[in-house]
Symmetry: C2
Subunit: 265 residues, 2 copies
Amino acid sequence: MMSQQNIEEISIVLVGAGNLATNLGKALCRKGVRPIQVYSRTEESAQTLADVIGASYTTRTDQIRKDADLYIVALKDDALPALIPPLTEGRGDALWVHTAGSVPMQVWQGHAARYGVFYPMQTFSKRREVDFGNIPLFVESNSESDLALLKTLAAALTTQVHEADSEQRKSLHLAAVFTCNFTNHMYAVAEQLLQKYHLPFEAMLPLIDETARKVHELSPRLAQTGPAVRYDEQVMAGHLAMLADEPEWQQLYRQLSESIHHLTS
Amino acid sequence: MMSQQNIEEISIVLVGAGNLATNLGKALCRKGVRPIQVYSRTEESAQTLADVIGASYTTRTDQIRKDADLYIVALKDDALPALIPPLTEGRGDALWVHTAGSVPMQVWQGHAARYGVFYPMQTFSKRREVDFGNIPLFVESNSESDLALLKTLAAALTTQVHEADSEQRKSLHLAAVFTCNFTNHMYAVAEQLLQKYHLPFEAMLPLIDETARKVHELSPRLAQTGPAVRYDEQVMAGHLAMLADEPEWQQLYRQLSESIHHLTS
């Protein structure tokens, strides 16, 4: 067990080389915590990340090193359960954590003695490096001493370290899907519409920024503006008519407007 | 007609005292362009705005001054057509503009000789003062000289002055409903969900900010992350189960996830 003084000495294996693993690996590296090995099923992803952070890599679970202190598993949630047995086999003494919002900590039970969760709530893309400094990071473990270790590691990355049990984490993840993925889809639909009318998406950026800034001060419910909250039927009818060629977006427009009206009236 | 040199001398009447009129009135004032009068059907709104910007006010259309150079009409879109005849009567020589994204310029035809549109594309709330400096402002007029005047006035407020005809403006407004109003509703749903689980909405702010920042660099379509784009059916099923008590949001979750999947796959 590592003390709080020497997290640089923890040897870490990163299992996964996707968006989250890439950003986490780089952020750890910047803090002097260098993962020793990267595993990914996809050789290109494994090699790319390993090269950047100065680690070795493998595409075979049986070649994952057995001497690490901590295994951070950042895989697609669907893929995780099937991989747990081959991953943990012969590595049962180490600390195992996953990074998924919606996977309960108990997924490790029966496969590892020491386990937990290390969930940074943020949207990660390989093409964009994220500053971890103020990302909320939620940790959980089946032992107090490992929880302390995970908190220390998290605190090296961000000022926002919180404990959250699996139920709370699942709720956070659901809320995050609305605030991030669904929000980004609203941007994406706008981008498609503007392309159709030969207008640049960039025109939307000041509006996007203000919409985000505004909810730092006002509750989103009070911050709402636009035709749906005013129940401006003529404007809404005009917009629905413009979406006649896009029944899916027309349906979204109708349902979102109704939902805004329900919540704000 | 005012030349480009002395916009401070234009006498302006603000028709409306809502979110947009309030922010626009204050912004004009800060630039030394002080509206002389505010009209609103609601006395409290009229008086509040008039006091802040040092103008007189009225709640009666027949008492709106007849000697202004420019009338800026910032009313709910639904209310505009019915008010145009009493507003313009006896004031037909002045320049009339409205501020609505979805109302065509031709709404003025037959009521005023000189008219146009002055559309700042932003989300305005009375409780939050907005910096106009980088807000895209779209102008249109039926005469070249009035278009020049509106551009000069707009340029006093923001660096982002564009001409847009009524069709383009309507498209911009539709896209703005997606990027702003529907996005804000995603924040609002998240807030409600987190309240239910006794978790603070503030935990979402770093994610909201990064989601907005990200599309300054990446196309929203490429920026997408999360269970829907990965088509992580187990996570989506878990989230849908959590929304069982909220059929409206459950339906939104399902449709938005499908729409993400269609756009990104």
